[in-house]
């Protein structure tokens, strides 16, 4: 197992390197001149040349990439010209808030989807299953912003149960001091993610229920509840765990939109602003970090997969 984890970590490093290279090249291929956007539309060619020289933008691309990597391993993601602060410190302030938003949504959606999926599978093609399937499809087909607006209209405007925007404290702790403001953003993201997981969990559980070993367990007199708990759950989770790894980028995209709608200050909002202002060090920094998180998420999912299924030995 240790050997497997080490090998997978090695693979992860290679993938992250690939992510940085592709992001770097793509951002450089984008139209727009950084110097002009920083100094202003009336910048002279001399000013632009000086700017480029100062920030190493006149050196060859491979050298720029190398410098970027060198800085990256030293924990430096560059400097935001617009915000006049290092990208690292910007992300250090914003990322934990995203982790709270995305992490809570992931955990909650799994906590709801797994039992609901099993219950639907056991009662398949009955009323409860049809209702569950219907709700799942509605949520699944709904864009994140539409769902967010529906929730705001219902719970913030009509009934005044929860605030319509996220807590505006600049610190992460401040965010947690006003949990009611977190309810709607987290709920939006949870419901969207839930829809995907519950569909998957239901079909995985139906497939597992048809397996011979479920019948074997029933033939030993095991009560139904224990059959589900001991024999069905773990075997159905095997396929869902893989989905968790794949769904991490989806959740991150979701946070980006949720942050917009609820004015939730996080890396997504920063990314959005950076894209508008051509602040490419921020864009690069965020993309690399998101890439790393995705790779790590998949690594964790793969390890979970190997833990759940004894047949998997790499």
């Amino acid at each position: 197992m240790t050997g497997y984890v080490l090998r997978r970590c090695g693979q992860a490093v290679v993938v992250v390197l690939g992510v940085t290279l592709v992001t770097f090249l793509m951002l450089h291929a984008l139209p727009g001149n950084l110097a002009r956007s920083i100094i202003g539309p009336r910048a002279t060619p001399q000013q632009i040349a000086t700017f480029d020289k100062q920030y190493g933008l006149s050196s060859p691309l491979w050298y720029q990439y190398w410098t970027f990597l060198d800085q990256l391993v030293h924990g430096n993601l560059g400097f935001s010209f617009h915000l006049s602060r290092p990208v690292t410190s910007l992300l250090a302030a914003e990322l934990p808030r995203d982790l709270i938003l995305g992490g809570l949504a992931l955990i909650l959606s799994l906590a709801i989807a797994i039992p609901v999926g099993v219950v639907q599978a056991v009662n398949r093609n009955r009323l409860g299953d049809y209702v569950g399937t219907g709700v799942g499809f509605v949520l699944y087909s709904m864009p994140v912003y539409a769902l967010a607006i529906v929730l705001v209209q219902l719970f913030a405007i009509t009934f005044h149960v929860f605030p319509a925007q996220a807590p505006q404290s600049s610190s992460t702790i401040g965010l947690l001091e006003h949990p009611s403001g977190l309810v709607l953003p987290v709920a939006t993201l949870t419901l969207v993610t839930y829809a995907q997981f519950s569909r998957y969990m239901r079909s995985a559980a139906i497939e597992t229920l048809a397996q011979d070993y479920i019948r074997t367990a029933q033939a030993t007199g095991l009560p139904e509840r224990l059959v589900l708990w001991r024999h069905l759950l773990r075997n159905s989770l095997i396929s869902v765990v893989t989905l968790i790894g794949v769904s991490i980028p989806v959740i991150i995209t979701g946070t980006l939109i949720v942050e917009q709608v609820f004015n939730f200050s996080g890396a997504g909002l920063e990314y959005y602003n950076a894209a508008l202002t051509n602040d490419y060090p921020v864009m690069l920094g965020v993309t690399v970090v998101v890439g790393v998180v995705t790779v790590l998420g998949n690594l964790v999912a793969d390890i979970g997969y190997a833990l759940l299924d004894p047949r998997i030995r790499y």
Partner: protein, 752 residues
């Protein structure tokens, strides 16, 4: 009062729009220490009977009537809680497929301990100790280590032992074993069945053994219940059933199995048609539409079970069989054979030999004497008569062929774990017009060899010659052309046909690939469908509309489409019911004669291969251990492995079967990743000595073409150089053919 008393049990399964009467009013009992065999074709209700007793019916299933009295209570009306206390504690159950019947994510120790914890209220440790003791009892090697193993670490045979351990962990009073050995190799089957017998004696429990195999019934049951279409058609003590069977269905079931001493020149008896649709109202005797003896009364009035003599022998038939000899002669008649009366009698006697106790070997001797007439040497009967003149021409040759598969890890690193030695240094020759049988346990490399023959695999070393050209030395486009002459027929008729293509398209596909114009294709497809016994209507239908046997016919038609000289048939009948099996075997033989086909038949079923093959090769762990004319190999096996395989086949004769007290072969085949040194069979061989570990045995002759690779063979080797068949014999065969087989050719052209 017996342990289990089932009275007028009716089980229904409600589907969307109709109801299946799966079990329709059956009554029987099982006493402690007794084994009741349940036999019949698939869909006859035997599994549903077992599931009804356990109350584990599929969704929509319910018991619609009757009583299931078990140990003082009626299970038919018991609530779920009562059933859960009975299941696993009072009644244990063993299922068919050991590969899927254990939870893959739980150690087998935990799975066996689970019912003990549940029903005995003991500590975790005590339950685990009990699991260890059970594994010892079921003959699991190194039981304490196995407790922590996951199912995928065990072979099929060992998994079935673990399942038996789980079913018996609480010492149930009744064990229901539903086809416990159908998915296993014949040698492992013998081990598992004798284990069940032993444990039944040890625990003094009653047992219901559900099987489709009359051989298993003969050897391992005290009483038999023959089921057809949800009803009991005959029940008797096992000996009485085999010696005085009264119901035509029982007889037909028995006659459909090719026996080891089957007359190969004779078509196998097959039950025409299919079992009735149990969703409709059935009038009269349910077997009547398929019965050779049926008259008007059979179609109007359903026969009731009546006693035949004493001892609980019951049957339900308006025209019961009077005594076995006559009956079997009638069965022979039912094959619609128009053969001369003399031969009909001989065949009837041949069949009777398997049913009438004690005469089997005598008949076998007689049959062989008959075949040896004419030229004094053994001729290859049943072979292709038309091809007799060119018999010695080789069509397919393996020359020191070896195939190794690299076993690597998943993912892109692909670490090498080892090499699977699937086929090692195999040389053999298949002659034009013959049927060549490849036999051995699963994992012996027979399928790989078959795939090499049709160029689906490339050999690691050595050659495969088709019509004297090395097919793997050919350039790509030539290989494509040559491949048209090499066709394959697959085992599973359900997965080998594209479900979204019409049957006409499936059969026409090879023709389209060859570039035939569409107009020609349609005509050829129609002819092919006719040849395999399917009507024109089949063309525009989809595979799911056909039964397993019909799909296998479609597979055969597709293989025939390009008019290939060679067809490799990989387990062509093992997925089919016995009655359908014989239909397909008969069809294959017919087509061989009309098309001059050469078959390579791969099968784990030695009786099937014996019936259809002229030459056979026995493989063990990638090596050829014995090869020769089928008659020689079966009558005088030289290799201990061949002997063990033959001994392990259950014979449908209670006396023969019950006298087999010792098991032919212990253990299971080692991994092909690390085959034993020297002779690969030595780890399981009773005759193995030191030499076997150090020296790889070479094939040596045992007279004629019969060769085996063993240091200590069961027969005395013949040192004279062997090779081609003697020309005199060919002449003899041809002379014989002209006179004696002529009428058969005529029959085969018009028959079916």
């Amino acid at each position: 009062m017996s342990l289990l008393e089932v009275t007028d049990l009716k089980t229904r399964i409600r589907l969307r729009s109709k109801t299946v009467r799966a079990v329709d009013g059956i009554s029987f009992g099982v006493s402690s220490g007794e084994t009741l065999g349940l036999v019949g074709e698939s869909g006859c209700g035997k599994t549903m009977t077992g599931m009804s007793i356990m109350r584990l019916l599929p969704s929509g299933g319910e018991i619609a009537g009757g009583r299931i009295d078990f140990d003082g209570r009626d299970l038919a009306g018991a609530d779920l809680k009562t059933m859960q206390s009975v299941r696993g504690d009072q009644i244990g159950m063993v299922f068919q497929d050991p590969m899927t019947s254990l939870n893959p994510t739980m150690t087998i120790g935990k799975q066996i301990a689970s019912p003990v914890r549940l029903h005995r209220k003991v500590s975790k440790q005590e339950a685990m100790d009990r699991a260890g003791a059970m594994l010892t009892l079921v003959g699991m090697p190194r039981p304490d280590q196995r407790l922590g193993d996951y199912p995928h670490q065990l072979s099929g045979g060992l998994r079935q032992r673990a399942i038996i351990a789980m079913a018996l962990a609480c010492q149930p009073k009744l064990l229901i074993a539903d086809e416990p050995t159908t998915a296993l190799d014949v040698t492992v089957q013998a081990q598992i069945l004798s284990l069940l017998d032993d444990l039944k004696g040890k625990f003094g429990m009653g047992m219901i053994l559900i099987t489709h195999d009359m051989g298993v019934i003969a050897g391992h049951t005290d009483r038999v219940m023959v089921m057809y279409a949800g009803r009991i058609v005959e029940t008797a003590r096992t000996e009485a059933l085999f010696s005085h069977m009264r119901h035509p269905y029982t007889e037909a079931l028995l006659a459909s199995i090719p026996h080891l001493d089957q007359d190969k020149t004779q078509r196998l008896y097959s039950i025409p048609g299919l079992p009735p649709d149990l969703t409709s109202e059935l009038v009269g005797c349910r077997f009547a539409p398929r019965c050779a003896h049926a008259t008007d009364i059979c179609r109007e009035k359903e026969p009731q079970l009546v006693a035949a003599g004493s001892d609980g022998h019951l049957f339900a038939c308006h025209h019961p069989i009077d005594n076995s000899a006559d009956a079997l002669a009638n069965a022979a008649q039912a094959t619609r054979s128009r053969s001369a009366s003399a031969r009909g009698v001989a065949v009837a006697a041949g069949r009777a030999g398997t049913a009438v106790l004690g005469t089997a070997s005598a008949v076998r001797g007689r049959a062989r004497d008959q075949r040896r007439t004419g030229d004094g040497t053994a001729t290859a009967p049943g072979g292709n008569v038309a091809g007799a003149g060119v018999e010695s021409e080789a069509i397919l040759e393996f020359v020191r062929t070896t195939k190794e598969f690299l076993v690597t890890t998943r993912g892109f690193l692909q670490r090498r774990l080892g090499v699977n030695h699937a086929v090692t240094d195999v040389s053999l020759t298949v002659r034009r017009g013959e049927t060549f049988g490849l036999v051995g346990e699963s994992g012996c490399g027979k399928t790989t060899l078959g795939r090499l023959a049709v160029a689906l695999e490339t050999p690691t070393s050595g050659q495969v010659l088709f019509e004297s050209t090395d097919i793997f030395a050919l350039p790509r486009d030539r290989l494509r052309t040559v491949r048209r002459g090499l066709q394959i027929m697959f085992q599973d008729p359900y997965s080998s046909l594209d479900p979204r293509m019409q049957v006409g398209e499936i059969i026409a596909e090879p023709l389209a690939v060859r570039g035939d114009p569409p107009g020609q294709r349609a005509a050829l497809v129609q002819r092919l469908l006719g040849e395999v016994g399917l009507g024109q209507g089949a063309m525009s239908r989809y595979p799911h509309e056909f039964s397993g046997g019909q799909r296998q016919r479609i597979g055969l038609a597709r293989a025939l489409a390009l008019n290939p000289p060679l067809i490799v048939a990989d387990e062509p009948v093992s997925a089919l019911d016995v009655s359908i099996r014989s239909q397909i075997l008969n069809l294959m033989k017919e087509l061989q004669e009309t098309h001059g086909l050469t078959y390579v038949v791969i099968s784990h079923d030695l009786s099937v291969v014996r019936y259809i093959a002229d030459h056979i090769a026995v493989m063990y762990l990638g090596k050829l251990v014995e090869i020769g004319p089928a008659d020689d190999v079966y009558s005088r096996p030289a290799h201990p492995y061949t002997r063990a395989l033959l001994d392990a086949i259950p014979v449908p004769n209670p006396q023969v079967e019950k006298s087999k007290r010792s098991i032919a072969m212990q253990g299971e085949m080692p991994s092909a990743m690390s085959p034993p040194s020297g002779c690969r069979f030595r780890t399981r061989c009773p005759r193995a000595e030191e030499r076997c570990a150090s020296e790889v045995p070479e094939l040596v002759g045992f007279g004629g073409e019969h060769r085996a690779a063993c240091h200590f063979p069961l027969e005395v080797p013949v040192t004279i150089a062997t090779g081609a068949r003697p020309g005199a014999r060919d002449l003899g065969a041809r002379d014989l053919g002209g006179r004696e087989w002529g009428d058969e050719n005529g029959r085969l052209e018009t028959g079916h």
